[in-house]
Every structure is written in structure tokens, then in C-alpha cells.
């Protein structure tokens, strides 16, 4: 009973902190703009099954992709065991899900194997980060804090796996020594169990208790650190894939407020009659964090800074300042910086900074070729060009700011209907002298 009460207190504490964090993030979401209506549930489920649970885009890098996929699938299986631990903790039961029979055996056996697999891969990931020079993990946006963040998360996951294996091993040994009935199958832990050969039942029991508490408390700590770390990815990436943009990568979203203006210019009468209430004057494009959509913000919370986007960016590859990963990371840190002020003081709040210029420079934005390599590469369907183009829209339409040659393109299109300065009278010159071989004609 005492154990149950302590567990309940720890759980409530965890949920309390988590609720606080969730409210904070929900308030940030409320600052953002609408993106799209979430429809096509069937298509979304199939995209989630393929990209999130199937890890399809991870395999674009086959080796690390496979390692990540196994870690992910391991997490999914082990999560079921964690749910069981919470039930056990509250109800004072032991391995309550054993009523599932064979299914339980399969879950526990695969969890036991996955714990080892994940631990080994996490060590490999740590070695990679600490001792190998992986270019993808470098770049101006990858500050010391980013590396520390990554290493803390990896270390926590490693401890989670080791405590799980410890718990399973002690459980297996305690059942053996008591001659009780074993719940579940333990392909890995049963091999480690002989370390307890000379231990007394009391020692084994105590060790089991220690590992059990260690594992569950680590989970609670992990869950509450995640939202403040790049590893929020663990929670957000599946929802982010479910909420993917379902249109082709080539498509840009229409600005309906511009459509109203253009229609008014072209045909004032119909446009006026169509116009509903006086809409508040909106800013065109993205200048600061309140101009991004909820989907852009969700993208930024889901990003784990893997850098696959930056590694394929033609601008970045050729030494330009643009890094798609930085754009996504900047959105998140801008929200962390300005969000609280906006929540407290309302939309008038101004800290005399903005996402454009103070976080993301114009030089970065003009380097993008909109080739969509970044978005194609992102394993969780983040879309970087959408924000980049949103900021170009602000620069051009609100500030009239663009490179001189680009301004000339705008003028040419407006005046003679082509990006170059040629007369539309000459549009058919290409067709003047087309000759075909005569034998072909008949």
C-alpha cells in the first residue's frame, strides 16, 4: 500500500509538470495562423502507417535508417511494458498484463530483445556523435547546447534500456529462486540471470525493486525533459506525419487575401459585392513568429535536428549560408523567446526583434532554389520551403525588398508578360522557320 501511495504521488507530480508544459505549448499554438483543415483521415492514416510506423523515409540512408527504425519499433513495443508498469504501480499488482497469455509472451520477449538492440545502437549513436566527425551534425546552427541536448537524450535512453534489462533479469532470477510461475519470455535477460546465482532471494527482490523504480522514474523524467529538448521529436513526430500536407511538394499555398485585392483591382464591382465584413488588415507573408501557421510550429517542435535536409540542400552543399534545418530550429527558438511575451501581453507585444533579420537573414532566404530536396528528405515530412517562401512574401510585398535583378523580373512580367524584357509581339519568332524532312510527311 505504501508503495502504491508513493507511486501515485510520483505519477501525479509527473502529470502535473507535463500538464504545465502542455498548456504552455498549447498557448503558443494559439498564437499561430490557420494552415489547412484536417480532412482525408484515411489518407492520413495510411501516410502515418507508411512514413511514421513504417519509417519509409528513414531508409533513404539505409544503415543509420535501419538502426533508427529498430530503435523506433523497440520504443513502440517497450511502451506497452511501461503502461503495464503504471498499472502495476497504481494497483499493487505484478505484471498485470500476463492475462494476455501468448500475446504477452510475444510483447515481453520482443521488448527484452529490443532493449538490448536499442542499447547497442544508442551506444553506436553516442560513439558516432562523440568520436566520429559526421558533417551532418555540424553547421552554424549546431551550437554546443544542441550537442549536449543530443547526448543527454541518448544517455537517458541508454539508462532506460539498461534499467529495463536489469529489471527483467532480476525478475527472472527471483522467479527462478522462488520456483514461482514465470510471466513472459526473456530471451536476453534469462542469459544474464545467472549473475544472481549466489544471491539471496531478498537481495534479488531488492534489486528488482531498485531497477523497477529506476526505470519508471527515468521514464517520468524523460517524458518531462523531452518537451524542452530536440527530442520532443519522440512525442511530436507521429502527429506531425499524421498532419502532413497532402498535396504535391511543388505546390505553394494560395494567399486568399491577395486574391481579394487582385480581384478588386481587376473588377471592383464584383469584388466589393463578394467582400464580407471588413477583415482586419493582415500582414502579407511571414515576418515574425505570429505569422507562421500551426503546422509550421508543429514542424519545428517535431524536428530532431538530424540535418538530412541541410545535407541535401544545393545552396548549403555549395557553401551558401542557407541551412533548411536552421530555418526550422529558428522558428522554435523564436517562439520560445517571444511566445511568453505574446501570451502575457497580447498581440501588441514587441521585443523589437523579429524572426526575419534577427534570426534568419535575407541572404539565407534568397539562396533557396525551392528545389524541395529538404522537404523530400525529411523523415517526418517537415516542409522548409513553405516558411522560406512565406518570408520572401513579406520582404517583397511589405518591404518592397528584393535583389535588383528580381525586381526587374517583376517589372518585366507586369509590363510585357515575360521575365525578360522582350515584346509579346515576338512570341512566335521560334515558329518562323521550322523545317521537317519531306519524306517524313508522306
Amino acid at each position: 500500500m505504501q508503495k502504491q501511495i508513493i507511486f501515485l504521488i510520483v505519477l501525479l507530480l509527473t502529470l502535473g509538470v507535463f500538464t504545465y508544459t502542455s498548456i504552455r505549448i498549447a498557448r503558443f499554438f494559439r498564437l499561430t495562423k490557420p494552415a489547412f483543415r484536417v480532412r482525408n483521415t484515411g489518407k492520413r492514416i495510411s501516410e502515418t502507417m507508411k512514413v511514421a510506423f513504417g519509417q519509409s523515409k528513414m531508409f533513404r540512408l539505409p544503415v543509420v535508417g535501419t538502426m533508427h527504425a529498430l530503435v523506433f519499433w523497440g520504443f513502440c513495443v517497450i511502451l506497452i511494458g511501461s503502461v503495464e508498469m503504471i498499472i502495476d504501480g497504481l494497483a499493487g499488482t505484478e505484471r498485470v498484463l500476463k492475462v494476455l497469455g501468448v500475446v504477452y509472451d510475444i510483447i515481453i520477449a520482443s521488448g527484452d530483445i529490443f532493449a538490448l538492440v536499442v542499447a547497442v545502437f544508442i551506444i553506436a549513436f553516442l560513439v558516432r556523435r562523440l568520436f566520429l566527425h559526421i558533417q551532418r551534425f555540424e553547421g552554424s546552427e549546431m551550437k554546443r547546447a544542441s550537442h549536449i541536448d543530443a547526448n543527454i537524450a541518448l544517455t537517458l535512453i541508454l539508462l532506460l534500456m539498461l534499467s529495463l534489462l536489469g529489471m527483467n533479469t532480476a525478475y527472472y532470477a527471483s522467479v527462478e529462486v522462488k520456483g514461482a510461475e514465470l510471466a513472459g519470455i526473456y530471451p536476453v535477460s534469462s542469459l544474464i540471470a545467472p549473475v544472481y546465482a549466489d544471491s539471496s532471494p531478498e537481495t534479488i527482490h531488492l534489486q528488482h525493486e531498485i531497477y523497477w523504480w529506476l526505470h519508471i522514474v527515468l521514464i517520468f523524467i524523460f517524458a518531462n525533459i523531452l518537451p524542452y529538448s530536440k527530442h520532443f521529436h519522440v512525442f511530436m513526430s507521429i502527429p506531425n506525419v499524421f498532419l502532413s500536407r497532402l498535396w504535391p511538394l511543388g505546390k505553394m499555398i494560395n494567399m486568399d487575401n491577395i486574391t481579394r485585392e487582385v480581384k478588386m483591382m481587376m473588377d471592383p464591382e464584383t469584388a466589393f459585392s463578394e467582400a464580407t465584413d471588413e477583415a482586419p488588415i493582415e500582414r502579407f507573408g511571414v515576418k515574425d513568429i505570429e505569422d507562421i501557421t500551426w503546422k509550421n510550429y508543429l514542424d519545428s517542435l517535431s524536428c530532431t535536428q538530424c540535418g538530412r535536409c541541410t545535407a541535401v540542400c544545393p545552396a548549403n552543399i555549395t557553401g551558401k549560408k542557407l541551412s533548411p534545418r536552421k530555418i526550422i530550429m529558428d522558428m522554435r527558438s523564436r517562439m520560445n523567446d517571444k511566445g511568453p511575451g505574446l501570451v502575457r501581453n497580447g498581440s501588441e507585444y514587441n521585443d523589437s526583434k523579429s524572426l526575419l533579420n534577427d534570426y534568419i537573414s535575407k541572404e539565407e532566404l534568397w539562396a533557396c532554389t525551392t528545389c524541395n530536396a529538404c522537404a523530400k528528405e525529411c523523415p517526418i515530412n517537415i516542409n522548409h520551403p513553405e516558411v522560406i517562401l512565406g518570408m520572401r512574401r513579406y520582404m517583397v510585398m511589405e518591404e518592397g525588398d528584393a535583389p535588383g535583378e528580381v525586381k526587374a523580373v517583376f517589372n518585366n512580367i507586369e509590363n510585357n508578360g515575360a521575365p525578360w524584357q522582350y515584346s509579346s509581339e515576338d512570341r512566335l519568332l521560334w515558329a518562323d522557320n521550322i523545317e521537317v524532312s519531306i519524306n517524313e510527311q508522306e
Binding site: N254, G319, A367, V409, G417, D426, L429, W430, V436
Partner: protein, 264 residues
């Protein structure tokens, strides 16, 4: 071999005679004004004639789709162009549009519908691949059999709209030696000209994107870079020049290769 001049039918002229062609061939600004790419427009017109397709061009009435403006952030200019074009298409009751430029294709297909456009858009490679399947277009490798060809995926056909197989299928009928670059299909590297980069100097860096991409092509040992986009063509042609390979390497559009293969 004797030559005969062909005429390119113009929409306004056909319409005034009460004729309605099946397709609009959207030439695009590069097809109209870029000296190199004009030849691609002409090559495609030859193929349309060869296939006896009912089509017309807008000629002097054609105008920019607004794509370069839109991708440079000027939504206002884009939408004015788009709404004008949509009106013009309605006037001529245009239902099917064939494009050669992937940027025109993408904006018609994915973005014009948001402004009320209602017409079918077909990229010329999909159109030609269909003709190949229907056996109307008969290609073989008798002309290009000793040429090594590598295909450069334009971003707005490949990643933008998932058109990867059609160009490869067409090329594979014309050469036994179609070689992939190390970055191909959805991993293909941009030529560096998209998103209005075509019209401006690149930002400061340590290399030009088109050189990086040309090196991919050179690594294949190909003597022809097949392209399918006017901007890619400018970039790849420049890349070949920059690398002093003009004698042993050429950049041709798939339409031009088909014209060669058909000997028309």
C-alpha cells in the same frame, strides 16, 4: 533530303474559323524568348505535327504564368498573371494544356486551381510516354545507339510532381546506354536555377550549384545530358562550357532527342 516548312497553328486564328483544337501547346517564356530553348519548342512542334495532333499555341496572347514572381515572393504579380490566363483559357474554351516547361506545368496543375482554373494539364513527357504506349510514337535506337545519355531530373517534375519514369522510359527506347548520375530521381541535385535563382546572381558561397551538378553528369561518362526544363538547360549548358567539355558533351532536351531518333 528535302525539307518542308511547317506552320504552327495559332489559337486566335483557328478560333475565328470556328475550329477548336484538342490541345493548347503552352510554349512558355523560355520557349518564346530563350535562343537555345526556342529550338526545344520547335522540336516539340515537329513531334506534334509528326503525331498529327490537333493543337494550337496562343502566340502573342501568351503571357508569363507568374511562376518566377510567385517563387520570389510576389504573390500580387503572380495572381494578376494567373487570373488573366484563366480568363483567356475560358475565352478559348481550353480544356487540355500541354507544357514543356516544368515550372509552367507545376503552377498550372497545382496552383491555378486555387484561383478557379478548370483544365487538364499534361507534361510533354507524360504525353509522349502515353503516345509511346499507344504505339503512335515509334522510337528505336537506330540513331542514338552509340550515344551515352544521362538524364537530369528537373525538381518540378521529379520531387515536385513525382514524374520520374516517363523520361527514362522514353530515353531507354532511344539508347541502350542510359546512365544514372549518383544523385538521381528524388535524390537528384537541383541545377541551381529554381525559385527565381535563374534571374539573379547566386548568394555568396564556395561553388556554383550548376558546376556541382555538371560534375555529377560528367562522372557518368555520358556524352549527352538529357534535360526537360529550360532553366536546367541554361545551367547544364553553362556547366559544360565552364568545364570546357563542349566538344565531347552536349545538352539536349528530350524533345530534341526524339526529333533526332525520328529523323524528322
Amino acid at each position: 533530303m528535302e525539307k518542308k516548312k511547317i506552320d504552327v497553328p495559332v489559337m486566335a486564328e483557328l478560333f475565328s474559323k470556328g475550329k477548336k483544337p484538342e490541345y493548347l501547346f503552352w510554349v512558355g517564356c523560355a520557349g518564346a524568348f530563350d535562343d537555345r530553348y526556342k529550338k526545344v519548342a520547335a522540336a516539340f512542334a515537329k513531334i506534334l505535327k509528326h503525331l498529327d495532333i490537333s493543337y494550337a499555341v496562343l502566340g502573342k496572347e501568351e503571357t508569363c504564368t507568374g511562376d518566377p514572381a510567385r517563387r520570389a515572393g510576389n504573390e500580387m504579380v503572380y495572381q494578376m498573371q494567373a487570373l488573366q490566363n484563366i480568363e483567356l483559357f475560358k475565352t478559348y474554351e481550353i480544356k487540355k494544356v500541354i507544357t514543356i516547361c516544368p515550372h509552367c506545368y507545376n503552377i498550372f496543375k497545382n496552383e491555378y486551381p486555387d484561383l478557379g482554373a478548370d483544365f487538364e494539364v499534361i507534361n510533354y513527357l507524360s504525353f509522349l510516354a502515353d503516345m509511346l504506349h499507344e504505339k503512335k510514337l515509334k522510337l528505336d535506337n537506330s540513331v542514338l545507339h552509340d550515344r551515352i545519355i544521362t538524364y537530369h531530373d528537373p525538381c518540378y517534375l521529379g520531387r515536385g510532381n513525382d514524374i520520374y519514369d516517363e523520361p527514362r522510359e522514353l530515353l531507354a527506347t532511344m539508347t541502350p546506354a542510359l546512365r544514372e548520375m549518383k544523385r538521381n530521381r528524388s535524390n537528384a541535385l537541383c541545377c541551381g536555377a529554381g525559385g527565381a535563382q535563374m534571374f539573379k546572381e547566386a548568394e555568396k558561397g564556395d561553388k556554383e550549384v550548376f558546376i556541382e551538378r555538371t560534375e555529377d553528369a560528367i562522372d557518368t561518362g555520358a556524352d549527352i545530358i538529357a534535360s526537360a526544363c529550360p532553366f536546367c538547360m541554361t545551367m547544364m549548358t553553362d556547366g559544360i562550357k565552364y568545364k570546357n567539355r563542349e566538344d565531347e558533351m552536349h545538352n539536349l532536351d528530350i524533345a530534341e532527342l526524339i526529333v533526332k531518333a525520328l529523323k524528322i
